[in-house]
């Protein structure tokens, strides 16, 4: 029996276990790629507009940091610049989570022990995970290349771009194979690998910001930090701009090195053990934890901090980018129209800033949904049962959860407004004034978020089994109505279904109190219904 005995069976097991996830990944990536390519092609139809785009992409610090280096003025190069980071991050994170899921999570739950007791080799579990994840990346990349070709892009460039994105997934498969050996928990393994993705992003952003414009062309030469980042390697393939195929060897090398290290580590450790010791906690609780409010804060503070960092970084960069909006839009009437539709109003910068705040409100809606649905997860896990068996009433418990989600959303919205204002204000020399103005404008969106909280509360109270799926589905509907409603010319009645439609688009539009009061009243009615239905129903159910 070799160390690899049973690998093919484990591969089939993993495929069976993840058949839905893998299908969404492998089919979803090319679909997203196709949709983005089509929409970019529509926005930059001719050489003229693409030259304008490329000029901005090369000169703008924000564009360099968030889109990466542009490889030229071909349509494909614009598509890659607009889509690369989204798809690459997706591929990095999906690969990471999949590797951990099929390695460390199996060990943590004891499934690996059960498998290890059967004729399965020492390396079989890790090998099977790698086969599945690398296979998924290769397949997704193949379909993505086909999607780009289908969107009318040249074949060679399409293949290079798709391979670059698949390469990011392959590189992080190698990273995750190592982090899976280090920590005891799958959560820890995921966090470590996700942190690596974050560092890779920052290195690449730094390298691209520090890069230099190539003499005599519209192309950016990234500085050395980009070369240290697996996320940067994909950009160095320069799809649609004189492909450098050899750059694809970098992710493959990282995979090989990562797998070798992982096997060496797996050889030296026990099943279930990690190389990093699990952190310990305090033997006694502090007084601050000992109440529903304290517990809710404790359970949500980590996620809230992560959101706050992301919101602040995005807010600042969106704000700084506001200064470039005028320049960008002068060359591009389609983009101008799109922004005006999203934000409303006549002043383009105001429309842009209002559109950004609207986007923040939608995104922070996801925070509200996730924070409130924690209660449903607690119910499924049995934690809620133990809690409600103490002297905590259902009203108090759900009320605390709603309060926590709403206050968290309030803090995030305020942060979003203030940082966006600060970013824009810094670029036009009036930071404090803009921070205050956009901070206030962000708070105008709160009633819509209250309605989101109310919707989740009602679903949790009345349709607990469906609450997770329906809550997310409704948020996505709100998102689509907000983003595509105007573009697709949907009837107003459909748009009115989303609470976000009713929020005055400050600063592009004037503040109107009536819709805000109406939204708040609707939210209050929903929350009350949620509480009452939860009080009357069985738990768990």
């Amino acid at each position: 029996m070799s160390g690899f005995t049973g690998t093919s069976r484990l591969v089939r097991l993993a495929l069976r276990r993840d058949r839905v996830r893998l299908a969404i990944w492998v089919l979803g990536t090319p679909l997203i790629g196709y949709a983005l390519a089509e929409s970019v092609a529509g926005l930059y139809p001719n050489k003229q507009t693409r030259l304008g785009y490329a000029e901005t992409a090369v000169t703008s610090v924000v564009a360099r940091a968030f889109n990466g280096p542009i490889a030229g003025t071909e349509l494909g190069a614009v598509v890659v610049t607009e889509t690369y980071l989204t798809l690459a991050l997706l591929s990095a994170l999906l690969s990471t989570f999949a590797v951990i899921r099929h390695t460390r999570q199996n060990e943590e739950t004891g499934r690996a022990e059960l498998l290890g007791a059967s004729p399965v080799g020492r390396y079989a579990l890790l090998t099977a995970a790698l086969v599945v994840v690398v296979g998924a990346n290769v397949l997704a990349a193949g379909l993505l290349a086909a999607a780009f070709v289908g969107a009318g892009l040249p074949v060679a460039g399409s293949m290079a771009a798709a391979a670059a994105i698949g390469g990011v997934g392959v590189a992080f498969t190698g990273v995750a194979a190592v982090t899976a050996q280090l920590t005891v928990t799958s959560r820890g393994g995921n966090a470590l690998a996700a942190a690596t993705v974050g560092v890779a992003f920052l290195l690449r952003a730094a390298g691209d910001v520090l890069g230099e414009r190539e003499a005599g062309g519209v192309r950016l030469d990234s500085a050395w930090p980009t070369w240290l980042s697996p996320l940067g390697w994909g950009t160095q393939v320069r799809a649609f701009g004189g492909e450098r195929w050899w750059a694809l060897a970098l992710p493959v090398t990282l995979l090989v090195v990562g797998v070798a290290v992982a096997f060496a580590l797996a050889e030296r450790r026990d099943v279930g053990a990690g190389l990093l010791a699990a952190r310990r906690g305090p033997a006694r609780a502090t007084a601050g934890l000992l109440s529903p409010v304290g517990l809710t804060w404790r359970l949500n503070r980590g996620a809230l901090a992560g959101w706050a960092v992301a919101v602040a970084v995005l807010g600042l960069s969106m704000g700084v980018a506001g200064h470039e909006v005028d320049a960008m839009i002068a060359d591009n009437p389609q983009a101008a129209q799109a922004i005006a539709q999203l934000g409303g109003g006549s002043e383009l910068v105001d429309a842009y800033l209002a559109a950004m705040l609207g986007l923040f409100a939608l995104t922070i809606g996801a925070y509200v949904v996730q924070a409130l649905l924690r209660t449903r997860n607690d119910e499924s896990d049995g934690v809620l049962e133990a809690l409600l068996a103490t002297a905590v009433s259902r009203t108090r418990w759900l009320g605390t959860q709603v309060l926590g989600a709403v206050l968290g959303a309030l803090a995030l919205m305020l942060l979003a407004g203030v940082t966006t204002g600060l970013g824009y204000g810094l670029s036009v020399g009036e930071p404090i004034g803009w921070a205050a103005e956009l901070g206030k404008a962000a708070l105008v969106r709160m009633p819509a978020l209250l309605v989101v909280a109310g919707v989740v509360a009602v679903l949790f109270g009345a349709l607990p089994r469906w609450s997770i799926a329906l809550s997310w589905a409704l948020l996505i509907v709100f998102l689509l109505l907000g983003q595509l409603g105007a573009v697709l010319d949907l009837p107003q009645a459909a748009l009115n279904l989303s609470p976000y439609t009713h929020v005055p688009s400050v600063p592009a539009a004037d503040l109107a109190l009536l819709p805000l009061a109406a939204l708040t009243a609707v939210a209050a009615a929903l929350l009350l219904t949620g509480l009452v239905t939860f009080r009357r129903r069985d738990t768990p159910s």
Binding site: R280, L388, A389, A391, D538
Partner: protein
């Protein structure tokens, strides 16, 4: 007044009748064993007692109150250990214990430390790294360190080793010694035999047998193994004698307690050489009610006397 009194309790989930006219009574100061296999309705009963599920019909009184309406007030006076303990992965065990104690209305710190020591539980480990047994210990310590009138324990020891099982039994005795009552749902018959003053055996949503262990034994058949000089005959005609079968040159049979005397009178006529008689173990009592379910659920509702 009874600590728990349930009469004719019915609870249905969709079309399934999980509880079908259940009766249960727990008296002050007793440890009451609640026996039944998975899916028989033990946890459903406990959840109704905790005000988590709503009853469809029947009478339920808990510590003199209504478990659904007075949930919060009643929960200050009881502590619950669930069968499947799930905790917050990023809290330490000590934090989880303090939290449950505080939400229940207070914790005896000295008891807490003593229990941690007795159950050999490291409170600084994060809950996500605990094994099932250790998660159970967290719930047990949190419950036992609370000074309450009633402890509701739903299969609390399924993950504990024999050493910890012994500690658990000592601690339960200490609680009842101090005047508390315990409802103990369990699979571990030895534990029930060691701890419980009275037991209720539940099957398919109703209690089929309830009483002290002596009472239950008294109602159940005694197993007699006998060796005689002359071949035994005529046993089948005796009243109250069942399951006669030869074993290694002896005869083993079951006899209802009321007919033990007439059986002995019959046996002496064949010159008894050796005789052993064993009262039914709890396991036998239990299997009498469930033996047929194990063999593919025959139609008879076993054990209704």
């Amino acid at each position: 007044m009874s600590v728990i009194s349930i009469e004719n309790l019915v609870k249905t989930f969709g079309g399934v009748r999980a509880l079908d006219g259940l009766d249960l009574r727990v008296e002050p100061g007793e440890v009451h064993g609640f026996l039944g296999p998975n899916g028989s309705g033990k946890s459903t009963t406990i959840r109704i007692l905790l005000g988590l599920l709503r009853r469809d019909s029947g009478q339920v009184r808990l510590l003199g109150g209504d478990p659904w309406r007075d949930a919060v007030a009643l929960h200050r006076r009881l502590a619950y250990v669930p069968g499947d303990v799930n905790l917050w992965p990023n809290l330490s065990g000590g934090e989880a214990i303090d939290l449950f104690g505080a939400l229940r209305g207070g914790l005896d710190q000295r008891r807490r430390d003593e229990l941690l020591d007795r159950f050999d539980l490291d409170p600084t480990k994060k809950c996500r790294t605990y094994s099932k047994g250790n998660r159970q210990k967290v719930a047990i310590v949190a419950a036992f360190a609370s000074d309450v009138e009633l402890y509701v324990l739903d299969e609390p020891t399924s993950g504990l080793d024999p050493l910890m099982e012994a500690v658990f039994q000592e601690e339960v005795r200490q609680l009842t010694g101090a005047g508390a009552s315990v409802l103990l749902s369990s699979h571990v018959l030895a534990e029930v035999e060691a701890l419980c003053d009275r037991v209720s055996i539940i099957r398919e949503g109703r209690v089929v047998e309830a009483g002290t262990l002596t009472e239950l034994r008294h109602l159940a058949r005694t197993t007699v193994t006998v060796e005689t000089v002359h071949p035994l005959t005529g046993l089948d005609d005796l009243p109250g004698v069942h399951e006669v079968r030869p074993v290694d040159g002896r005869v083993r049979l079951e006899v209802e307690p009321a007919h033990l005397d007439s059986l002995l009178a019959h046996l002496v006529r064949f010159e008894v050489r050796a005789l052993t008689s064993a009262p039914p173990t709890l396991e036998e009592l239990f299997l009498r009610h469930y033996g047929d379910t194990a063999n593919g659920r025959s139609a008879s509702v076993g054990g209704t006397r």
